[in-house]
């Protein structure tokens, strides 16, 4: 027994010594760079691992360490940036980009881009989301717009043959799709699900010419034109009682409520398609472009980019990884999952997303979508909006007053924080 302990100790010491040596003397040791992001589903993760393996085979002296942060992603990244322990490459949501671009923690990427990378192939609006003062700070990895998802079984039962094309039509359809089978006065299925959050409602503000913020980045959504679009949603919820929030029907999200058949329509993004197919295989649904409001098409677009940490010790290696992941080949091999649409026009065309009946409405939206982004004040504006919009939705106060209050609160906070 004693002998064994001695032997184990020796072995441990040996390992310790040898590992120390390999760290200090071997200059050809592979560099390790960290890539942080979130993970929406296991398949996505598998595909990304595959692409990273390809990258490591091509660049044997670079090792990529993947790190998945699923909860409060941006809070974690911001805190790590402050503590100077941030990853070399990380996912960056367009909505959070302005703060980081302004504070100078991101490495400008213009100097790294070579002509054969073909940056012009990207959707220009997506590239612009990560630009500040003419410098590019992140490369968009993919994007998604919002489209109208509708339950085809429910449509058939209600004798509706086509998805609504205008918001007025949608309001009518929602009435016909709301059913109360057990007659307890509470519908068992609502016409539509509503997510009372600014990212999902911003295009309603813009429908009648309202704006979210003014030139100085102060909130301005409470203008009569801004309120007019939002009022449509409030009317459906309060007057018609044909739409429901996820929590009204006991679901965690709009897409879950849609999948469970508790709402017949929902305005969702590409990420909902793999989710619905995996979680609710029996659900029959189709997608259409978001109905026109005020005779105009409108929707939201969400994009995520790869950003590089300015403090990174291996910037060239980090760029090589970004370059590979967003190259035509790299993007193609990982955009097949369908969680989002590829940001390169050539890849989108090659994968035929515009021909796929489920994805075509989402792809079409790219032309007229509002990108979910605004200045550094957006987090403040959003918190304030979300808070008051719900209260208007629940009928605690008229929408106009609620929005005015939200705008005033946001602007006071913006003013005081400057």
């Amino acid at each position: 027994m004693k002998k064994q302990v001695a032997r184990l100790t020796c072995l441990g010491l040996l390992l310790l010594v040898s590992s120390c040596r390999s760290n200090s003397s071997d200059t050809n040791a592979p560099i390790e760079i960290t890539l942080s992001g979130w993970q929406s589903n296991p398949n996505e993760s598998k595909l990304l691992t595959k692409v990273i393996n390809e990258f490591e085979i091509k660049n044997p002296n670079i090792k990529v360490k993947r790190e998945v942060i699923n909860s409060q992603y941006m809070d974690v990244i911001r805190t790590r940036l402050i503590g100077e322990v941030a990853p070399d490459v990380f996912y960056l949501e367009a909505f959070e980009a302005p703060t980081l671009m302004k504070s100078g923690v991101l490495e400008p990427l213009d100097g790294y881009i070579k002509p054969d990378y073909d940056i012009k192939d990207f959707e220009p609006s997506l590239i612009n989301a990560f630009k500040r003062d003419g410098k590019l700070y992140a490369i968009p990895k993919d994007f998604s717009t919002l489209a109208l998802f509708y339950n085809t079984t429910a449509f058939q039962n209600a004798n509706l043959k086509q998805p609504p094309e205008t918001w007025a039509e949608l309001t009518q359809f929602a009435k016909r799709l709301t059913v109360d089978t057990n007659r307890d006065g509470k519908p068992d299925r609502y016409g539509m699900g509503v997510a009372p959050e600014l990212p999902r409602q911003l295009f309603m503000i813009k429908a009648f010419g309202g704006t979210l913020v003014d030139q100085q980045n102060y909130a301005s959504f409470a203008s009569p034109n801004g309120v007019k679009g939002l009022q449509l949603v409030i009317d459906q919820y309060r007057r018609d009682r044909t739409v429901a929030q996820p929590s009204d029907v006991g679901a965690n999200s709009n897409s879950e409520a849609f999948g469970q058949g508790k709402v017949a329509m929902a305005i969702e993004g590409a990420w909902a398609i793999p989710y619905l197919k995996d979680t609710f295989p029996d659900l029959k649904f189709a997608t259409a472009e978001v109905p026109t409001i005020n005779g105009k098409k409108g929707t939201m677009a969400f994009t995520v980019g790869y950003g590089m940490n300015r403090q990174s010790k291996h910037k060239d290696a980090a760029w090589k990884l970004i370059e590979f992941l967003t190259s035509k080949q790299g993007m193609k091999s990982w955009a097949t999952e369908g969680l989002a649409l590829p940001s390169r026009k050539s890849v989108a065309a090659a994968l035929r997303y515009d021909r796929n009946p489920l994805y075509a409405p989402l792809a079409a939206g790219a032309k007229y979508a509002t990108i979910w982004q605004s200045g550094e004040t957006l987090p403040t504006v959003m918190t304030s909006f979300d808070n008051q919009f719900v209260s208007a939705l629940l009928g605690q106060q008229p929408l106009k007053d609620a929005m005015q209050k939200a705008q005033d609160t946001a602007n006071r906070e913006i003013y005081l924080s400057n």
Partner: protein, 300 residues
């Protein structure tokens, strides 16, 4: 005489070796407790920029003046005070009631003690998730309510009841901890007092009112102060409940959640720390009021 004793070499040596023994604790506490507290107090008077180019700008009392105009601070304070005012008395009374029940010789009381204590040793994150299932619109609570033809609520989405939901959950989770403390204190009351009272012809109620309660007074003080501090610092439940937003319509916004939002969402550390100082001040005041109320002599 006294002076010479004080400077006695032996005494100095004794004191030195005493401090030497305490050094590890002093260093650890100093680095991880005293320094951060001092740093927090200093930073509360600055505008701090941590992201990118780190900079501190002295702003005097600006952070504290800003609080007065910040509507959300008042809402958060109101919510928190309402929460404290309802939760602390209920959980204290419940804990006392449970302890008194379990102190009698009922059958299977060790089993009851374990069952009652379980919620306290469960992680609050897990509890919150379980309760979110119970509070779901189609969940257990609404099913029970509708079975008895009582009104049902959207517990998670309705601002009117969201905070009450958290209150129920917290009372349920923390009362048992205080129950155990009461239970321990009840064992300390000498049986002879009850016997003497019985001989004098005291009723059960009189025994409780004149013997049990006065004996439990220091423990009650402890329980209430701990309850106050714990409830004033409510964070995780309302965070998970509202996904960090404090909604619906600020109904679950608490001071600590607001501090979190300013510190980590808006990266406004100076203001967040000013709010922290304010909260510390509020808790201290509440504790001092309690102390006045219970009287100092009961402490020993």
């Amino acid at each position: 005489m006294l002076k010479s004793k004080f400077f006695n070499r032996r005494n100095v040596r004794e004191a030195l070796s005493g401090y030497l023994f305490m050094t590890p604790t002093i260093v650890v506490l100093g680095v991880f407790l005293a320094l951060p507290v001092l740093y927090a107090i200093v930073l509360a008077f600055h505008k701090v920029n941590l992201l990118g180019d780190v900079s501190y700008r002295f702003t005097g009392l600006k952070n504290f003046v800003r609080m007065q105009d910040d509507e959300r601070v008042w809402i958060a304070l109101q919510n928190t005070v309402q929460y404290v005012a309802i939760v602390v008395p209920i959980q204290t009374l419940l804990a006392l009631g449970l302890a008194l029940t379990l102190n009698t010789k009922i059958r299977g009381r060790s089993w009851f003690r374990v069952a009652f204590f379980l919620p306290t040793v469960t992680s609050s994150a897990v509890l919150t998730l379980i309760f979110m299932w119970i509070y779901n619109s189609n969940g257990l609570l609404n099913s029970v309510l509708s079975f008895f033809s009582l009104p049902t609520y959207n517990w998670l989405g309705d601002p009117e009841v969201a905070l009450k939901g958290i209150m129920i959950m917290n009372v349920w989770a923390t009362a048992p901890l205080f129950m155990v403390i009461y239970l321990a204190a009840l064992q300390d009351i000498p049986e002879s007092l009850y016997e003497a009272a019985a001989i004098d012809g005291a009723t059960t109620w009189e025994k409780f009112w004149h013997i049990t309660l006065p004996f439990l007074r220091p423990v009650t003080f402890f329980v209430i102060v701990m309850g106050l501090i714990g409830t004033f610092q409510l964070f995780d439940q309302s965070y998970i409940f509202s996904n960090g937003s404090g909604g619906p319509n600020n109904a679950t916004l608490t001071i600590v959640l607001l501090i979190y939002q300013y510190a980590f969402k808006n990266l406004d550390m100076g203001y967040a720390l000013a709010l922290t100082l304010m909260l510390a001040f509020v808790i201290m005041t509440a504790t001092l009021v309690q102390r006045q109320f219970f009287g100092e002599e009961s402490l020993d």
